[in-house]
Symmetry: C4
Subunit: 295 residues, 4 copies
């Protein structure tokens, strides 16, 4: 079934295929193993240090946005920021140096993220007014996903991904139906309450309807007429109730993913299946089972 | 079991049965295939163009409600709106022309929606004051459901529908119990807090109770007395906790729908289906079943 | 297992056992069949009329609380209210008359509800100040449950009840852990934010913590300090996340209830079980199965 | 699989192993049985009395924080508080006396909680200004968990614990992805709305984003620009939708825990367990299994 197509690259489709691991051993190949892979001691150490640097640098960006801290510790933040930028710049250049196809890397998703992680600091120095640009540095956070893909958590990560992908068509259908209902309700509320009560336009009413359906309920826009309150009661109950649908979809997907592995193991002697994932003997006739297929 | 009765028409119950496909080949039959069906190339193209037109025209309705945009781009919106209205009018007339029983179509659900999609624009021209009427055009959105029923997403759509229908009695019981509890709580809060604290009547208290039970919590009406806060704490915990019930109902329904692959295994002897996935003999007549079809 | 003990009376434990159906045929026995049972045509008609009367009378109570309506239609409401009170009084007296043990009925749960449904109207006439007393009439709503127990919806009703009862210990454990965590968080917030920011006492902080954990978020009390906001972020994530736990508990209970019936049917020929609820032949050897045990 | 490692001590790992039950019979051993164990009549009575004392003393702490009650009943609260403190002090000393390794007990988790339950009252007497310190007494609540571990509810408690532990890696992955997305959205909102609309810093925007994603929606900070409202609509839908993921994870974990009844079926030949419910042969050595125990 085409829905089961795996959207997450299997373990073998590592960066080596995408950007090209250098062909001959040497400094570039060694660097490549350290920077892009994590099956050596140095590679794992590099990953850990990088994660720590990313987290600290993101923390600095966050703290720097607080007026009080920025005024008091601004200079420390600047020094730290420049250190991180220099380290990440060196790392970026090394990545460009050690891959076989630098252009393929530079235009890949993570290549662009790596570039956006360092360039705002330089730009902000050149254009003193572009202060807002500095917030782009928060994208550094996304670099953690690259490392996550290499770690032992990859199984859980891919299992959740598979469940979401398998449920994608059901979720899409569900979301479009929800969106239509919400748009209809928003238009009704716009007509009923009107600009006088804060429902100044259909987009504003849509924003309100989404706060109601998702049960967020900020309360900055609220119905004031009795009819509007009655309609919004229906909207709230609807949103509260239909939350059960995506939950049900994903629950059953995850349960299905969980019970999948045994499906492809069949007893050669009596043909029964449904064996426990770790079974070595057939539960129905006691014959020895084949080893579980490598996933 | 009567609960399993399919509320969604099976694939064979297409519009042909409802409005009547023209009996003899010719222009009407050709138009019918394009407009009402989607198994030809022209039919699919027609559907795609229609969905695009509906989405764009709804977007214009939404944007036109924004004061700032309406003032600045009002004329473009008017031109676009009249174009859509004319196109949809032609489409409506063609639909009337090519079905065998025009009256049956005109009084069907989608016939009325089609009519309501075009008539407000003409009415608003005749009665300049009836501006609110224009919002009725948002009903055009519902026309997308007709096309959705013909597409390949129909399986997921019908599966979700079946799960909801199968769970309908449980959900109805659940909702009526919830409604009674909420009405009792609202009356208690009306008595405890009273008009002085914003609980001006039982309907208003009911609106508040629904914001609390559904965990929306707009905050326009809030308890002020200690007793009222205690009761509303109970209300909130109740609403938060019982959300688990519909989720559980629907999760188990969807899981049950999913484990009905047996629908395509049919006893050759007595024609019954609904066999357990691992059944080897027919549960109704005891005849040997075919092996389960490979999924 | 003692958790499976059925808290809802089985179908045979009808009111006949509790209040006593009159022993000899006659007027009392006929009345009893109509009023307390629903297996005759007159009995079902009585139930339908009673549900309609209850719903209309509750609607009158609700509408009467709206100032504007009460002023304009007060007299109609009064006439309607006295009609309902007289009808319900006659019904109450008939119930007392036709049961074998009137005292047992009068002191039963539904006997008290029936009494509370009529007495406030009389009391409010005697004591003009006791206006609040009239809200007690909303308890009439509970009388619908008695009729619900007799209808065909009783299966779904009891199935949901069984699932909740089976999950009761897990839910109790869960709720007490949640309550302790919430009380600890409330105390911390009371210490951090203090009376100056609206957290005037631990009970008030508890009310706030419940609005946060249940994701209601009225917004009448909000943290103002940075530390308070950090703690409340944790509180919100906690509440949002742990909602998954009761949902999981109840989902798996409902799924278990659903898959129960087949457990007690075992093929006499080959001993296999797990047959479909409506199976007549063994799915593993084709032998005829015993009829399903009456539940 | 290492994820199934039981984080909750099995029934045999009772306090006796941790703090040491006195070796020789006598007063200390008798006290130990009463205070630390609950398999004697006196032990159970002790537990019940202790739970009652803890609950009442916590209630006093809570009520004492209410200004109005504190002023009126302050003296009663003081007397009660000193009584509880003295009782808990005696209990703490008895615990120290009757265990074999008092230091191991005093530095254990519950030893520290026991100490923190009594010491604030003495400290507040010595340092009259340290009023806030009194709130530490709320930690007494945690002492209930110790008793809970000894009661018959321990099965449900441990079952929930096992499900959460088994799901821990999936939940961790999920939470870190959610946190990154929330931080990115918060930064975008900080850039879009800015300090003028209440988004004074990234941490403040993060607090807002968490209220939106968890659907709490206090409403103290709300988007005011159209772009901000559009982004926050996406944020709300995201939070509402992804709530389905942890629910699905935990639902399927609990269902999996439930379907492990096989734990009590053990192969007589090799001692392995975890067989499928309908297994007839051991999955590890192929020996014939006993029939499943009647539940």
């Amino acid at each position: 079934m085409d829905l089961r197509l795996d959207p997450l690259p299997p373990a073998t489709s590592n960066p080596a295929r995408q950007y090209g691991r250098p062909e001959h051993p040497g400094l570039r190949a060694d660097l490549y193993r350290i920077i892009f892979e994590s099956d050596t001691r140095a590679g794992r150490l590099f990953d850990l240090v990088l994660i720590a640097l990313i987290l600290v640098s993101v923390t600095v960006v966050v703290l720097d946005s607080v007026q009080a801290l920025s005024v008091r510790h601004g200079e420390i933040f600047d020094v730290l920021e420049w250190s991180f930028t220099l380290i990440f710049t060196v790392e970026y250049l090394l990545r460009l140096y050690c891959v076989r196809r630098p252009l393929a890397y530079a235009t890949s998703f993570f290549g662009i993220i790596d570039f956006l992680s360092v360039v705002p600091t330089y730009l902000a120095m050149l254009m003193p007014g572009a202060h807002l640009l500095l917030d782009v540095r928060i994208l550094r956070l996304l670099r953690i996903f690259r490392i996550l893909k290499l770690t032992s958590y990859v199984d859980e990560y891919r299992m959740l991904g598979r469940a979401l992908v398998a449920a994608r068509r059901k979720i899409l259908i569900f979301l479009s139906v929800v969106f239509m209902v919400v748009l209809l309700l928003a238009t009704v509320m716009y007509a009923v309450e009107g600009p006088a009560n804060g429902f100044t336009s259909i987009p504003t009413a849509l924003y309100w309807a989404i706060t109601a359906v998702t049960t967020v309920g900020f309360g900055d826009i609220v119905p004031k007429t009795d009819l509007g309150r009655a309609i919004s009661s229906v909207t709230m109950l609807l949103g509260w109730g239909i939350l059960a649908v995506p939950t049900g979809i994903i629950s059953s997907e995850i349960a299905a993913q969980r019970s999948l592995p045994s499906a492809d193991r069949r007893c050669a002697a009596c043909g029964s299946d449904g064996h426990a994932p770790d079974a070595r003997y057939c539960k129905d006739c006691g014959a020895r089972l084949e080893a579980a297929a490598e996933e």
